[in-house]
Amino acid sequence: MNETLLRELIPAVTGVLVRRGADFATAEDAVQDALLRALATWPADPPADPKGWLITAAWRKFLDATRAESSRLAREARVASEPPPGPTEDTADTLQLYFMCAHPSLTPASAVALTLRAVGGLTTRQIADAYLVPETTMAQRISRAKRTVSGVRFDELGDVATVLRVLYLVFNEGYSGEVDLADEAIRLTRRVRSMTDDEEASGLLALMLLHHARRAARTTPDGTLVPLAEQDRSRWDTDLIAAGVAILQAALARDRLGEYQVQAAIAALHADAQTVDETDWVQIVEWYDELDRLTENPVVRLNRAVAVGEADGAQAGLAALEQVDRTVPRYSAAEAYLRERAGELALAARLYGDAARAATNLAERDHLTRQAARLNSVVRG
């Protein structure tokens, strides 16, 4: 059994323990312990019934943990006398775990960490690696997150939107260590979609697949960022694009629009263009208008202004940019791009320089610095 299949079993095992009367925090720790033992022993000695093995191991660990705390003896007696579980597959319990891990009382980073461990089935070390922090720090972040949600009732109904936001963060941020976070986000979003039949879960899944399709073209082998317009489109994964488009179309047909569906629609229009010149910018602007109505996010207006510049010319783009708050991240980069297209090269060069200094990641900083250097050498003649 490979590690991904093992991870698939984790939320259901936690669900079984909780249904037997275990509290979420202790159950989750017990399941993590069983997971670590499975990773260590299964390669040499694979069990006939992996899920049963995990439930037994986790349940024993849970009883040990509760036994160790004398104040909890009463509860142990109660849970130990509970009847054996019924069927072990319970979608409602698993979905409830997703809600719990994305609970609005959690900060985004703790929701991400707890989600990756309790429903993603990742080990604390793997999560720590992915976010470049020590394992002890990540363990504490997860423990605190569990304390924060300790008062949440397990049958309290959650909001799918909060779960999707956490999965979006997993997909969009973080480094890829031993575990590929993008793959992990896609796997979990697929699961949420199958459990909820939610249009926005479909929208998010489509968005992820459409962006994942560009992965090979997004950076050069040495890690240099390649902007969308310069990507070698023959390296885009057409199977992923087709899958993303199909999921998106089915969601859009249900006429319950949301921000992820709209973002996916924009990504699909880019994916549809064989060359950058074939991009349907007019439609992209229309989708940005839709997204603006749904989110009122200033970053959306910034991206819209760039799209307007492509659809109706640089002056129109600059006019649209005037409506955007100048303090929005990447404002200078967007203005630099439009100024260059408007022929204002010296100003564009200066703005690219500003944008490079404000960049929050190295790949972007290097890219913007190169743009500034290119224009400065043109201006100097």
Binding site: T107, P108, A109, S110, A113, Y131, L132, V133, P134, T136, T137, M138, Q140, R141, I142, R144, Y168, F171, N172, E173, G174, Y175, A182, L207, H211, L225, P227, L228, Q263, I266, A267, H270, N303, A359, T360, N361, L362, A363, E364, R365
Partner: protein
């Protein structure tokens, strides 16, 4: 989350609030209290899930540069009294810039001689993060 480097300028940076003697001139119990306070501070940040790393640096440093093709590197110093002295650093992973500033403010209250806060300047520098996947 974003990572920040809190750089301890023992000397240098803006004008010092307290002119600190070198630690070997402090009372031994003040040195102990200082060291223990730093350990406790790191532990506290571990518990909040924000700690990444901390390091102290030996005060003596040497400047080194490329010496040219086929030649050994050029060195300068060490200098007995440099204007700037970096005593070490702390790296944290926090939710916001405001939180990074808050942590730096608390860190600067580390006790010096006579157990009084030493008010040292911390330079807060953001690390570069990972580029976002969704770009448009």
């Amino acid at each position: 989350m974003a990572k920040y480097l809190l750089l301890k300028h023992y000397r240098g940076g803006p004008a010092p609030v307290v002119n600190l003697d070198p630690m070997d001139q402090w009372a031994p119990e003040d040195v102990d209290a200082h060291v223990q306070w730093m350990r406790d501070f790191a532990t506290k940040l571990q518990e909040t899930g924000e700690f990444v790393e901390h390091q102290a640096l030996s005060p003596e440093g040497t400047f080194v540069r490329y010496g040219g093709e086929g030649r050994p590197p050029v060195t300068d110093g060490p200098f007995a009294e440099t204007k700037d002295l970096i005593a070490g650093w702390l790296i944290i992973d926090v939710e916001t810039y405001e939180r990074a500033v808050e942590v730096a403010g608390e860190y600067s209250a580390v006790p010096g001689p006579n157990g009084k806060p030493n008010y040292e300047w911390l330079e807060v520098r953001p690390f570069f993060g990972s580029p976002p996947t969704v770009s448009e």
